[in-house]
C-alpha cells in the first residue's frame, strides 16, 4: 500500500550571522491513510518545524531540502505558493495548539468555518453553512446553529478546539496535521478531543500526523511513532515497539522520566536525563545525544550514526547493538 504522505531526507537550514542552524536533519517517515503517526520530542527537537516544512510554512529565511516529499502521489517540492495554497486547508489541514489565538476574534465562528470551504470549492454560502452545521454537530457541539453566529471569545477553550477541528474537516482533507492539539486544555477536555480525533479519523479514513511532547497521548492514539531529538529521528517504530521495547537510550530515558499511577512507587526518584540539548549550529558530528547518554563511548563523538533498521518499520539511531540497547532497557528499569 502506498503511503499518503512520504517524507525522506528532509532538511531545514536557517542561515544566521554566526553560522547555519540545522534544526531538522534527514528526517523521514510515512503516514498511511486511516493511521496516526505521532512525532514525539521535547521543545526544540524540530517536531513543529518538520510539520511546517511539509506545509511550506517555514520562516522566510529558512531553507528546505528533501529527497522526497510526496503527498497522495504528488511531489510537494516543486509546487509554487499558489499551488501549495490549494493543498493547504484543502487536502492537508492543520490544527494548532492555541485555539485562543488561531481563530480570528473579529469574525463569527460561522464565517470562519464557511470561508475554509468557499476558498477551495465552488459552493454557495448556503451549502457551506450546511456543511459547517453538519461538522459542528459531528464534533459534538450542541446548538450548532446558535454557535455559528457567535464570536471565538464566547466559547470555552475546549469548544474552540472543537471548532478548529470542524474547520480542519470542512474540505474533507486526506491528512490532518495536529501540532500539540490539546496542550492548552484540561485533562478531561484533552481526553474528549483526542477521542473525537480518533473517531473522526476512522470515520473519514484520514491520515493523522500528531505532534506532541506527551508520551501518554502517544501511547493511546498512535499507530506509529517517531521519536525526535535535536533535529533527528532517533527511533521509529510501531507504538507497541516503542513503548514495550524501546531501543534508543533517549527513548528509554524519556519513558523513565514520567510517573505512571499504580506503577511508579510514590515518592521514589524518577529517572532523569541530565544535561542539555546540544547546539544545532554549524557542521554536526557524531551522535547528537552523546553528551547526555549514560552509555556513550568514544566512537559516539566521531562516527556518523545511521538510522539502522532492526525490523521493517522499526529503526533506531545508535551505535550500540539492538541486543545491548535491550539490555540497557532492562537494567535501567531495575535500577
Amino acid at each position: 500500500m502506498t503511503a499518503l504522505l512520504k517524507v525522506e531526507g528532509l532538511d531545514v537550514e536557517i542561515p544566521l550571522a554566526i553560522g547555519t542552524l540545522r534544526p531538522v536533519r534527514s528526517v523521514g517517515f510515512e503516514v498511511e491513510r486511516g493511521k496516526t503517526l505521532c512525532i514525539v520530542g521535547e521543545s526544540g527537537c524540530g517536531k513543529s518545524l518538520t510539520s511546517l516544512a511539509i506545509m511550506n510554512l517555514l520562516p522566510r529565511r529558512a531553507r528546505r531540502t528533501a529527497q522526497q516529499l510526496s503527498f497522495a502521489g504528488r511531489d510537494l517540492r516543486g509546487l509554487d505558493e499558489r499551488a501549495m495554497a490549494d493543498v493547504r486547508g484543502n487536502e492537508i489541514a492543520m490544527i494548532f495548539q492555541e485555539p485562543m489565538t488561531s481563530l480570528n476574534p473579529a469574525f463569527t465562528i460561522g464565517n470562519q468555518l464557511e470561508e475554509a470551504l468557499l476558498r477551495h470549492r465552488k459552493v454557495s454560502r448556503k451549502e457551506a453553512r450546511a456543511r459547517a452545521l453538519y461538522l459542528l454537530d459531528k464534533v459534538g457541539i450542541t446548538a450548532a446553529a446558535e454557535r455559528l453566529a457567535q464570536y471565538p471569545h464566547q466559547l470555552s477553550g475546549g469548544l474552540r478546539q472543537r471548532v478548529m477541528i470542524a474547520m480542519a474537516l470542512m474540505c474533507a482533507p486526506k491528512l490532518i496535521i495536529a501540532d500539540e492539539p490539546t496542550t492548552a486544555l484540561d485533562v478531561t477536555i484533552q481526553a474528549q478531543i483526542l477521542h473525537l480525533l480518533a473517531a473522526l479519523r476512522r470515520e473519514f479514513e484520514m491520515g493523522v500526523m500528531l505532534i506532541t511532547h506527551d508520551l501518554g497521548i502517544v501511547a493511546r492514539i498512535a499507530d506509529r511513532v517517531a521519536v525526535m531529538y535535536a533535529g533527528e529521528i532517533v527511533e521509529t517504530g510501531s507504538v507497541e515497539e516503542i513503548f514495550r521495547h524501546p531501543l534508543h537510550p533517549y527513548t528509554q530515558g524519556l519513558l523513565r522520566c514520567i510517573p505512571v499511577p499504580g506503577k511508579t512507587r510514590r515518592g521514589a526518584h524518577l529517572g532523569s536525563i541530565p544535561g542539555m540539548v546540544p547546539s544545532l549550529l554549524g557542521p554536526l558530528r557524531g551522535c547528537s545525544f552523546r553528551n547526555r547518554c549514560s552509555y556513550g563511548f568514544a566512537p559516539c563523538a566521531v562516527e556518523t550514526v545511521p538510522l539502522a533498521e532492526v525490523a521493517p518499520g522499526n529503526a533506531y539511531r545508535c551505535l550500540l547493538t539492538p541486543e545491548a540497547c535491550a539490555l540497557n532497557a532492562r537494567v535501567g528499569t531495575a535500577a
Binding site: V187, A222, P259, T264
Partner: protein
C-alpha cells in the same frame, strides 16, 4: 491528630463581576465553603479543571487575598492577625511559569536573596553565603550568581524559584503547577528535587496540578475541587484505586497513562464546564454526571465522611 499546621475553615471567596454597561454587578463565587486541614509533613494534592477555584484558594492560603467568609489558621492562629510579613516567612509559593515569575532585570543571586533582604536577615556577606548554600542545595552552579534569568533554561529558572521560596526556611510551600511549563526530562528532575527538599527541610506541600500522574506521585492526600467546592478528599492510594465521586472517576479515567493499546477513554462528561456566574442548582456537577438523580438538581450534597475520606455526592446519602 496533632494540631494541624494549616487549617482552612469554611472559606468562601466571591468576586463582583460587571454584568455589562448599565447592568448590576453579579457575584461570582470562586470558592464556596472549603474546609481543609493539613498536618506537618503532609503533601496535599489539589486537583480540578481550570476555573474550579484551585488558584483562588492558593491565593487565600498565601495571604494574597482575603476570603469573603471563613478563616485560615496557621498553627491555630488566624492568618489575618499574623500579618503579611510573618506569614511570608512561613508560607511560600512556587509558581508555574518560571519565565514570568522571575524579574528579568535582577541577577539570580539577588532574586534568591530578596526575601532575606526584605526580612532584614543577617549582614550582606552572611546573606550571600546563605544564597550560595541554597543554590548548591537546589542544584544551581554558584557561577550563575550574577547571571540574569534570561540566560537560564526553564529547569534552571524553576530551581531559582524553588531556592527563593526556601531561603527563609518556610514551613509550607505552595506549588502551583510547578512543572507544567517544563519538558518531561526536566519535569522529573524538578519533582525529584522537590521530594528531596521536602524530606530534608521537613516541609509541608500543597501541590496544585492538572497532571494527575504528578499528583499521584507526590501527594499523600488529594482533594478534588469542582466549581469552588471540594467534592472528594482522600488518601492518595485510596483515591486513585477506588474513587467515590463520579467527577473524580471521570477525572481519573481521562488520565492518559503511557500504556499502548488502551486507546483514548470516553469520559462520558458533557462538553460544557458550567458558567460560574450561573452555577447549576443542587449539586454543581449534575449536568455532566452520568449518575444524576432528581435529588441532585434540588439539594446540594453535604460531604459524607468515610474512614479518612469524604465525598460530597448524593449517591452516598444512604451510606
Amino acid at each position: 491528630m496533632t494540631e494541624p499546621l494549616l487549617e482552612i475553615r469554611e472559606v468562601e471567596c466571591r468576586f463582583w463581576v460587571s454584568g455589562g454597561l448599565f447592568k448590576a454587578k453579579r457575584a461570582l463565587q470562586a470558592v464556596g465553603g472549603v474546609s481543609l486541614a493539613l498536618a506537618r509533613g503532609e503533601v496535599l494534592g489539589l486537583v480540578g479543571e481550570s476555573g474550579c477555584g484551585k488558584s483562588t484558594l492558593a491565593r487565600v492560603v498565601l495571604g494574597l487575598l482575603a476570603p469573603t467568609r471563613g478563616t485560615v489558621l496557621f498553627h491555630g492562629e488566624p492568618v489575618a492577625q499574623l500579618g503579611r510579613a510573618a506569614l511570608a516567612r512561613r508560607v511560600q509559593p512556587v509558581f508555574q511559569d518560571p519565565y514570568s515569575s522571575l524579574n528579568p532585570r535582577k541577577s539570580i543571586g539577588s532574586i534568591i536573596g530578596l526575601p532575606l533582604r526584605v526580612h532584614k536577615v543577617g549582614a550582606r556577606s552572611e546573606r550571600r553565603a546563605r544564597v550560595e548554600e541554597m543554590m548548591d542545595r537546589v542544584g544551581l552552579a554558584r557561577r550563575l550568581y550574577h547571571d540574569s534569568p534570561g540566560q537560564l533554561s526553564g529547569g534552571q529558572r524553576q530551581r531559582v524559584a524553588i531556592a527563593r521560596a526556601l531561603i527563609m526556611r518556610p514551613e509550607l510551600v505552595l506549588c502551583d503547577e510547578p512543572t507544567s511549563a517544563l519538558d518531561v526530562s526536566v519535569q522529573s528532575q524538578i519533582l525529584n528535587l522537590l521530594q528531596d527538599l521536602q524530606r530534608e527541610f521537613s516541609l509541608t506541600y500543597i501541590v496544585i496540578s492538572h497532571n494527575l500522574a504528578v499528583v499521584e506521585h507526590m501527594a499523600t492526600r488529594v482533594a478534588v475541587m469542582y466549581l469552588g467546592r471540594i467534592v472528594e478528599e482522600s488518601q492518595t492510594t485510596a483515591l486513585f484505586s477506588a474513587p467515590r465521586h463520579p467527577y473524580t472517576q471521570a477525572l481519573l479515567s481521562s488520565v492518559l497513562t503511557p500504556e499502548p493499546g488502551l486507546g483514548v477513554p470516553d469520559t462520558h462528561l458533557g462538553i460544557a464546564f458550567p458558567n460560574p456566574l450561573d452555577p447549576p442548582t443542587g449539586c454543581a456537577f449534575h449536568p455532566r454526571c452520568s449518575h444524576a438523580m432528581p435529588v441532585c438538581t434540588e439539594r446540594r450534597p453535604v460531604p459524607r465522611h468515610f474512614a479518612g475520606a469524604s465525598t460530597a455526592c448524593h449517591l452516598y446519602d444512604s451510606a
